[in-house]
Each structure stands twice: as C-alpha cells, then as structure tokens.
C-alpha cells in the first residue's frame, strides 16, 4: 500500500523526532545525522521542535552550572 504524501511526511517527522536526543548528543552516525538535518531544513515544525529541545537541554545544563542555588530556591514549590 502506498502512503499518501502527508502520512509519509508525518511518519518521517516522527522518526526524526525520535532521533533528536541522539543527534543533539552527537551520537548519530554521519548518514543519519545528515538525513535528520535534511528533514529539519525543509520541515518548519521539526525545525522548531529541534530548536526547543536544544534550548531545553541548554537550560538543564545551565541549572547544573548554577549549582544548588536555584534548586534550593524551588524546594518549597
């Protein structure tokens, strides 16, 4: 059965997003990384998704750099 282009695109989006963590950690092989970059280049939704995932991870790393100040700030919440 041939998938229609929209369904195929969505499947591609799903596969791409499943690899984003490994991509951002530099753990995808070159071919897979290039394929992800090609998809993200043409897909605005996945491009935004990747950018926001990257910002999330950067925020987490920043938390670690700040030490325990912020962690203890939030202990009562």
């Amino acid at each position: 059965m041939t998938l229609n282009p929209i369904t195929r695109h969505r499947e591609h989006c799903r596969d791409t997003r499943a690899q984003m963590s490994d991509y951002l950690d530099g753990e995808l092989d070159r071919g897979a990384a290039r394929a992800l970059e090609r998809h993200v280049h043409w897909c605005p939704s996945c491009r935004r998704f990747l950018a926001n995932l990257r910002r999330t991870i950067e925020g987490l790393r920043r938390l670690g750099e700040l030490g325990e100040d912020l962690a203890l700030d939030g202990q009562g919440q």
């Binding site: 989006c13 998704f49 202990q75």
Partner: protein, 188 residues
C-alpha cells in the same frame, strides 16, 4: 574544582587500606555535589541530606568492594540514589508525550529570534524537571544537569546505556512540551 584522577586514585587506595582521613577527603570533594544531585531527585532537602550521610557511611563500609572500574563519584552516586530510593516509589505509568506530529505551529512573538536568559525560565525548567516521573527525572538530572556521560549515568542507575538513553529522550521530550509556552515567548 576539577578533580585530578591520579590524586583521586591515591586517595581511594589509601581509603581502601583503612585511612579514614583519605576517605574524608573524598567525601568532602563530592558530598555537596551528591547532595545537589539527590535533591534534584528527591526534591526534599532533608531526605537528600540523609541519603548523602547514609551513602557516605555505606561507601566507607564498602570501600573494599570499589574496584575502580568507574569513577569514585559515579560509584558514590549510585549508592546515594539507592538510599534516596528508600521511601520513594518509581512512577511506572508511561508518560503521555506531547510530541504529536502535525501539531499546530505556535504563533511566535514579535521577536522570534530574541534570545534572553532569565532566572524565570531556569526556574520553570527546574519545576518541569520536578514534575517528571522519577525514572525520567533521574536520567535527565544525571546526564543533563550533572553532566555525567550516558555510560556513567547508566552505571549509576544500574541499567543499560540504551535504556538510560530511552529514559533521557522521553524526559527531554516531556520537558520540551512543558516549556513550550516559554519558547513561544522567546525565552532561553
């Protein structure tokens, strides 16, 4: 403060030979970091403090069993997490992830490229981390906040690297979804 590996190895050897001062020096190096890690997992200052104390006692009692195949901190963190687990039950329910494809592209503010770091955003990241199921929270806290490698984090948790990466990815995806409205507002 970066820890010299050879110096650490010497301290471990002395501790294994029964030198309590050497062990105390190791404990002094790592107890604050361990307490911070355990606080991020337990979200309870007293529980984190108690888990650190218990972990240090157990580490001292079991230093003979530390064979140096991992970093001392990795080994100590594993003991600490086991202690922190007491009284905490991991959440088993799968997390509903907001990663549906074809989602509506959110409207961006007037300055989509404007990037500004704010304490408000970081506090939101911290809160979102706190809301993650425990297994995901531990993976994210060890890998992204504490900066352990995936292999080290897997060792600490006592699972395979692949399973750790799966938890990490799911945790990150859930955080991204929770923080989405901050991104729409242009926060970083």
């Amino acid at each position: 403060m970066p820890v010299d590996a050879a110096d650490e190895e010497r301290l471990v050897q002395r501790a294994r030979a029964g030198d309590q001062d050497a062990f105390n020096e190791l404990a002094a190096r790592y107890s604050t970091r361990l307490r911070r890690t355990l606080f991020r997992i337990t979200r309870d200052c007293d529980a984190a403090y108690d888990a650190v104390q218990e972990a240090l006692i157990r580490a001292w009692q079991g230093i003979d069993r530390f064979e140096g195949r991992s970093r001392f901190y990795t080994w100590l963190t594993r003991i600490g997490i086991n202690e922190a687990y007491r009284g905490m039950r991991p959440v088993e329910e799968p997390l509903e992830l907001d990663d549906q494809v074809g989602e509506r592209i959110p409207a961006w503010g007037n300055q989509p490229d404007r990037v500004f770091e704010s304490r408000e955003f970081l506090a939101a990241v911290d809160r979102a981390l706190n809301e993650l199921p425990l297994d995901y929270r531990i993976a994210v806290a060890l890998r992204d906040v504490e900066g352990l490698s995936a292999r080290e984090a897997a060792e600490v948790v006592g699972i395979g690297e692949r399973a750790l990466k799966s938890r990490l990815h799911r945790g990150r995806m859930a955080l991204r979804a929770t923080l989405d409205h901050y991104f729409q507002a242009g926060y970083l």
